[in-house]
């Protein structure tokens, strides 16, 4: 089905919360996912297939020149980006190598505004690989093309199901006090 970018962002953010992602992380990842989805809509299905949880994210060192991430960029991406910023400020080495990156394009997007240039060493955007971050001048991510995105019905339903984990059944009190309540609408 065809969805707007705003609509996809909203549902992704809720779905990420439904998976247990923290406030703030959800927004950053949803932003980056929408940008990636404009050229690679299958990223939505890969989120649904991820088999780790946000709780699996380890502490990520801010001052070493190489580390392997555990978990998934879907959850750890913003923290990795923070670590890259910390490294960029503190470490002496010219480059930082991150191994075990399951979503290179997504991580590159999350790193986009940081003071670094990213180079993918190995693998493709869709395969797990190693990302090398080179100290340098900031790279501004390319602007996202406007317009709708086509996602599969299955993926959309999956996102909606995750989002629904954050919903709350309306109370009787709430139903009785919503807009339009207690009035004769045929007046």
């Amino acid at each position: 089905m065809t969805v707007s970018q705003t609509e996809l962002h909203r549902v992704l953010q809720k779905a990420l919360r439904g998976l247990g992602v923290a406030d703030g992380v959800d927004d950053e990842v949803a932003d980056a996912m929408v940008a990636v989805a404009t050229v690679d809509p299958d990223i939505v299905e890969r989120l649904l297939a991820v088999d780790v949880t946000p709780a699996d994210i380890p502490m990520i060192p801010h001052d070493v020149a190489r580390y392997a991430i555990a978990g998934s960029v879907f959850f750890a991406g913003p923290a990795i980006a923070d670590a890259v910023s910390g490294w960029s400020q503190r470490a002496q080495a010219q480059s930082l190598v991150i191994d075990g990156v399951d979503e290179v394009a997504l991580l590159s997007r999350l790193l986009g505004h940081r003071l670094c240039e990213t180079r993918v060493n190995r693998g493709t955007d869709r395969a797990e690989g190693t990302l090398t971050v080179v100290r340098g001048i900031g790279v501004t991510p390319s602007a996202t093309a406007p317009g709708p995105i086509t996602v599969s019905d299955v993926a959309w339903d999956g996102l909606k199901a995750l989002a629904a984990r954050t919903y709350v059944p309306e109370s009787t009190r709430s139903r009785a006090s919503g807009a339009g309540a207690n009035l004769d609408d045929n007046e």
Binding site: Q89, R165, G180, D185
Partner: protein
């Protein structure tokens, strides 16, 4: 009142730097109770849209009108603008009385609408006829910008049709009582249900400012509602056409029932909120800086005060709190008139509006003070109107993980003192929680200690979050923000917020929105006033009825009135009235 002219005492804004002492501070403006006393101003979105339509000579004409004797069927209005044409698709159907509800649970409506860039081809007509009446259950395409619906105000609608059909004048008393033929129950934009993202709308070159497409849709619903009663009356009377008297038609607005669904927007769009408030406060500061006023400006002010008195006198509400506030407003406006407008002394004062504002701020209620703000802005178009272009903003976050935590603490202390001063010792301070309802996926308010679901609370508790962030750090903390968030990722949202909004003094509602005494109706009033709504008629602390576009020029009048034809709370006599029915 007569159309306001640009007062000769106005200097072009770029030549009038703002005296900081004339600018109201964030803590003054962003109190929840003050936001809940806002009135529409000439910067409100409905007003800026109508001024633009007049200035650019937009035309709105039906290009398809396929309605039966009872007014059921479809119609298309074409909106010709200097850039792209738009098409307003309207669908009208018969519904049973028991189906007619303003509640979000409704599944059928008297009328449904889409604002689209797609011309009415057979395919587009068929697609929209299938999807638009289904509203949330339908799917739109990126060619559609807005989706909406409205129900008839049945008693008044029928009265007007019957009066027109019988060549009688419809009742002015009923008009004053109701104020609209239809009320919208939802106006969706910005990507919902497949609609175009605002970014797509913005790139079209037609609307760079927020909510203009939505406001245009509401204006067109009003236009359609007038044409619909005229159509039904003509068929009923077996005449080729009948017309409502223009002053009567112009006095018709569009009603709306607004609930909690729109309240969190002000928290989730803080940059936008800042820009809206900043435009208003900059305008007020400019007007307060006016060194002197002429006799003509004073005459305009008196005329506007009369108009305002009339509006306030006709403002009806059953809500006790709002009714008390209105009664006080009537009394206080009388005192304003006596103290400041009974002679010509204002023309001899230096900075007369500043003196007026300072005086009123000392003794009047917030309802009166904010009405006077709207009144002052109305008098000085050249000092105010350019600020409408500052009401757009992208909600971009500027997050700096390498910032020392000590610096972050300093930001909290400098910009979130209001939050740090909140106390959360008593259950009352956290009594309410906001959540998304499973039934309609809309924001709702729960009672934390009586209802389940608080674990899914929406993160709009900014005061409490800043409180927690501050307590999670130490004065001698040597970590960076990134390291802090490694240990406590749940703080990421509030950290980004504090870093991003520092210096935007109107970005935050400075109140604990979880407190048992925090009234959501104040948030609704703020947003609706910014849209241009008036006749606030709260039905509880959780929802309100309002009216939009009352007294605005009709579509057929846009080409023969000036930009200031629609003034605060009233129509202008500068619109040449057509002959009535």
């Amino acid at each position: 009142m007569t159309a306001l002219t640009n007062a000769p005492d106005d200097r072009p804004p770029h030549q009038a730097p703002i005296d900081p002492s004339l600018r109201r501070s964030g803590p003054t403006v962003m109190r929840l109770e003050r936001l809940g006393a806002f009135h529409p101003t000439r910067l409100s979105f409905a007003r800026t849209l109508v001024r633009r339509m007049i200035r650019e000579r937009w035309s709105i004409e039906p290009i398809s009108w396929d309605l039966d004797d009872d007014g059921y069927g479809s119609a298309v209005l074409k909106i010709s603008t200097p850039t792209t044409p738009l098409y307003f698709y309207a669908f009208s159907q018969s519904i049973a009385p028991e189906e007619r509800t303003d509640r979000v649970i409704a599944e059928r409506w008297d009328t449904t609408y889409a604002l689209s860039t797609a011309p009415p081809s057979d395919r587009t007509r068929a697609r929209l006829a299938r999807e638009v009446p289904r509203q949330e259950a339908g799917r739109l395409e990126a060619s559609e910008w807005v989706l909406s619906r409205a129900n008839k105000s049945v008693r008044f609608f029928e009265h007007v049709v019957n009066a027109l059909a019988n060549r009688e004048a419809p009742s002015d008393a009923l008009l004053e009582d109701v104020g609209y033929l239809m009320r919208t129950t939802a106006v969706y934009g910005n990507g919902k249900f497949g609609l175009a993202d605002f970014d797509v709308v913005r790139r079209s070159g037609l609307f760079a400012l927020p909510f203009q497409a939505e406001m245009l849709t509401v204006y067109l619903v009003r236009e359609f509602s007038v044409r619909l009663v005229e159509h039904i009356a003509a068929r009923r009377a077996h005449r080729s056409s009948v017309s409502l008297p223009s002053p009567f038609a112009r006095a018709l607005g569009i009603g709306n029932a607004t609930g909690l669904g729109m309240a969190p927007f002000l928290v989730t769009h803080p940059r936008l909120l800042h820009h809206w408030m900043n435009a208003r406060e900059t305008a007020l500061a400019r007007v307060r800086a006016v060194e002197s006023i002429t006799a003509q400006t004073l005459a305009d002010a008196r005329s506007l005060l009369d108009q305002t008195h009339h509006y306030v006198g006709a403002w009806q509400t059953d809500d006790q709190r709002q009714s008390d506030a209105r009664a006080k407003l009537v009394t206080e406006l009388e005192r304003v008139r006596t103290d400041w407008f009974s002679d010509d002394a204002l023309t001899n004062h230096q900075r007369p509006w500043d003196q007026l504002y300072i005086d009123i701020d000392q003794w009047a209620s917030l309802e009166t003070v904010e009405l006077i703000v709207a009144f002052l802005l109305e008098l000085h178009p050249t000092l105010v109107d350019d600020l409408e272009h500052t009401t757009a903003a992208d909600e971009q976050w500027s997050y700096t993980p390498t910032m020392p935590v000590r610096e972050l603490r300093a930001l909290c202390e400098t910009h979130y003192g209001w939050a740090l001063a909140l106390a959360f010792d008593e259950p009352k301070a956290e009594q309410q929680f906001w959540y998304v309802s499973a039934a309609k996926e809309e924001p709702r308010l729960g009672a934390r200690f009586e209802e389940p679901g608080a674990e899914h609370e929406l993160p709009i508790d900014i005061g409490r979050q800043v409180h927690r962030l501050y307590r999670a750090t130490e004065p001698d903390d040597l970590r960076t923000v990134g390291e802090l968030l490694q240990a406590q990722p749940a703080l990421r949202g509030v950290v980004r917020r504090v870093q991003s909004l520092a210096g935007l003094e109107y970005a935050e509602i400075q109140a604990n929105l979880l407190d048992a005494d925090a009234l959501p109706i104040h948030m609704l009033r703020c947003k609706l006033a910014t849209f241009g709504a008036n006749r606030f008629d709260p039905k509880s602390n959780l929802w309100t009825r309002i009216t939009l576009f009352q007294n605005a020029p009709l579509a057929g009048e846009l080409h023969r009135c000036d930009e200031n034809a629609w003034a605060l709370f009233g129509a202008s006599k500068s619109i040449t009235d057509d002959a009535g029915a």
